[in-house]
């Protein structure tokens, strides 16, 4: 099944062929307390404390929250406000490494997910600070706890990796397919689901073959090659493509009995359960023409961006823009002081010439955006409404169903900042609702 709309950007997955490299230990890490959707964790260390690798620095503040852990052993040099990849400043723990890289007590306790019950597994994932590593960073244990009235019968591994440039999931599937699939098995055990899909875009069939070959015999998984089309990796579109089920407007995958997790999250969950290692490292694609040695890099969470760039040969002189994530949905950065966080799946460095400085024009009603919108919305009308401050009307035009994939802005000949306009609309609607209640 195909979904309506979507676009075919130039994919530029130039790093797909190069093996993942591991960053050496650094002298300093900055670990923000908030690296997930939901309440920031509660700090449990203080300045001057000695911490060990994998030791919790914070604990979850509520159900929708996640702890963060020390990336290495060393001293807490301070807890203060640091620049955060979201564009603001947020409280973070600065750690001076002692170079010993000693594991914390209790970390590294091995488990076997096949012998554990769902509640126990969810507890381990929560303690390990697992969040969705595709970029949305929603706490994994929450996602794995759907309400009773919404039974899940299908698990889906999101291996589409539809954002241009990004190849980290691709590499993980080639290099560590067995571990990723063990993570899938673990998720299916938590959910009590027998049937699972692995959806991979057909521009990486080698990953599909590697995954198929590595599949443990006790897992009932179907490996599906999907059409290469953006945004194939959007949960709702992935579900349609794999199962034919349509998530209702305003609904979640669980409304059609599905649950989707991303490749990196599956791997990290496996490591948390089988090896007892909390989420303190991940792989990201460092790419773009403005970085000298583009590659996939395994780094520790809290690594300053500057160090990672340095590890990849540094920036070219004409760097114009650095984006965390992919070019379609990523977030632009303005300082190299920001740390890399759990949700950082890519660092895209573009040259000045590649970054278009354009002046947005008025909507010419060409309708390109209507054809491109995978959610079946009318971006042209929504954009005008936002521009004129008619935010309440935007709800009638289902702006809340917008997944902010950016397909509309990509095709707009007037270069209108449509996604920004919709985000403004959503923010204003939230405000209106808060005032009303």
């Amino acid at each position: 099944v195909k979904f309506k709309g979507g676009i075919h950007p130039r994919y530029r997955k130039t790093t797909a062929g190069s093996p993942t490299r591991t960053m050496p230990l650094l002298e300093r890490y900055v670990v923000p307390l908030s690296q997930h959707l939901g309440a920031p964790g509660k700090l449990i260390v203080a300045k001057g404390d000695l911490v060990a690798r994998g030791q919790a620095l914070s604990e979850a503040a509520g159900f929708v929250s996640a702890p963060v852990h020390a990336p290495t052993s060393g001293k807490v040099a301070g807890v203060k406000a640091f620049p955060h990849p979201f564009g603001n400043v947020q409280e973070a723990v600065e750690i001076e490494a002692d170079g010993e890289d000693r594991w914390a007590e209790g970390v590294g306790k091995r488990g076997d997910w096949r012998g554990m019950d769902p509640g126990e597994l969810k507890g381990v994932l929560q303690q390990a600070g697992l969040v969705g590593m595709g970029g949305a960073t929603f706490p994994t244990h929450v996602k794995l706890s759907p309400p009773k009235e919404k039974p899940i019968d299908t698990f889906i591994l999101n291996a589409a990796e539809c954002e241009p440039y990004l190849t980290s999931d691709h590499r993980l599937m080639l290099e560590r397919p067995r571990e990723v699939l063990e993570g899938v098995g673990l998720f299916m055990r938590v959910l009590g689901v027998a049937k699972g899909y692995v959806g991979i875009e057909d521009n990486k069939l080698d990953a599909l073959e590697a995954m198929k070959a590595a599949c443990p015999p006790d897992l009932d998984l179907e490996f599906v090659a999907l059409e290469t089309k953006y945004p194939q990796g959007s949960e709702k579109h992935l579900i349609v493509a794999l199962t034919g089920r349509k998530v209702p407007p305003g609904g979640l995958p669980m409304d059609v009995g599905c649950l989707v997790q991303n490749v990196a999250t599956a791997l990290a969950s496996y490591e948390a359960v089988e090896k007892g290692i909390p989420l303190i490292e991940r792989v990201a694609t460092v790419t773009g023409e403005a970085v000298k040695e583009p590659s996939n890099v395994l780094f520790r969470v809290g690594t300053p961006l500057e160090k990672l760039i340095g590890f990849c040969g540094g920036l070219s002189e004409d760097v114009g823009k650095i984006i965390f994530g992919g070019p379609m949905m990523g977030v632009g950065q303005f300082t190299l002081d920001v740390p890399l966080i759990k949700g950082t799946s890519g660092i895209l460095c573009l040259r000045e010439g590649e970054v278009e400085q354009f002046q947005a024009g008025p909507c010419i009603r060409c309708g390109n955006c209507v054809d491109a919108c995978p959610m079946g919305l009318v971006p042209s009308v929504l954009g005008v409404q936002a521009e004129r401050g008619r935010f309440a009307e935007m709800e009638d035009y289902h702006v809340l169903d917008c997944i902010e994939c950016g397909s509309c802005a990509y095709v707009c000949p007037s270069r209108r900042p449509l996604v920004q306009l919709f985000r403004r609309g959503k923010a204003e609607l939230r405000q209106l609702k808060r005032k009303a209640s």
Binding site: F334, A360, R424
Partner: protein
């Protein structure tokens, strides 16, 4: 010829009678005061009173639901005219003027990044607070200007909003429009103002803007806490009892304190030398 004249005249007579009866029977009772009040109001339909325009407000006053001095745009003469239509008297109120509590021009508070998006402060503020180094400062994209029905706000070339006191009616629409809550309504007679809204600690504030209040409390000590109070590392004038001593300007090392004579139509930024 004759017949058609008679028929037409007859038709006219019958319809006329019908209309005359309808006008009596279906007459809508209106309060004659409502129209008079509406005439006395400025007629700008700015919405500053909280009603949907001047007519709506006039109706509310006539029904006794709104106070005759509820129009923020009316001066004392206009407000007492409204009150006298209602047979009431009002207390004289001082004219209030909007003021942008920020001097963070592009040179003083440089942009952290290039912003190329929707030309609206509210939208820019959603991107990590906006491009300005100072998280509290004026983004200069003109949401207040767009909200002003009186043309009383201009965006200066160096990137911040400025109120033109002569045109300002004190309706307060700009106060609501500003995502950074930078605009305050101040009494016309107040002359000493602290034009900063930065709540960072000293060093951070200095880094963010060359004209930022660092919360040193010198002004508070000189003027007295009842006139200027420093809270959250930010000095704020108590406009119920504003300070009057122009020497305060020299106390402020950062040049945040300015003297502005609003009655003489002084501009809200007259401190180029001090800062």
């Amino acid at each position: 010829m004759l017949l058609s004249t008679v028929v037409l005249a007859g038709l006219g007579l019958i319809s006329g009678l019908g209309l005359a009866v309808a006008a009596r029977v279906f007459a809508v009772q209106t309060d004659p005061r409502r129209e008079k009040i509406a005439e006395a109001l400025p007629g700008a339909n700015c919405g500053g009173c909280g009603y949907a325009g001047c007519n709506d407000f006039a109706g509310a006053v006539a029904r006794g639901e709104a106070q005759p001095d509820g129009c923020p745009v009316c001066d004392n003469a206009a407000a007492s005219a409204v009150a006298s239509i209602m047979g009431l008297a009002i207390e004289e109120k001082e004219r209030r003027v909007a003021m942008v509590m920020c001097q963070g021009t592009r040179e003083r508070s440089v942009d952290r990044f290039r912003y190329n998006g929707m030309a609206s402060c509210g939208s820019a503020a959603l991107l990590g607070g906006g491009p300005k180094s100072c998280a509290y400062g004026c983004l200069g994209l003109g949401d207040c200007q767009a909200a002003c029905s009186f043309g009383a706000i201009e965006m200066t070339e160096d990137g911040i909003a400025r109120i033109i006191p002569q045109r300002c009616t004190g309706c307060g629409r700009c106060v609501e429009a500003c995502p950074k809550d930078l605009i305050r309504l101040v009494p016309e007679s107040a002359t000493i103002h602290v034009l900063c809204s930065n709540k960072d600690k000293g060093p951070a504030a200095k880094k963010a803007c060359l004209a930022a209040c660092i919360g040193c409390k010198k002004c508070e000590k000189t003027a007295g806490a009842e006139h200027i109070l420093v809270e959250d590392f930010l000095a704020r004038v108590n406009y119920d009892d504003p300070p009057t001593d122009p020497a305060l300007v020299d106390e402020c090392a950062m040049g945040c304190i300015v003297v502005v004579d609003l009655k003489a139509g002084g501009s809200a930024r007259t401190n180029e030398e001090a800062a």
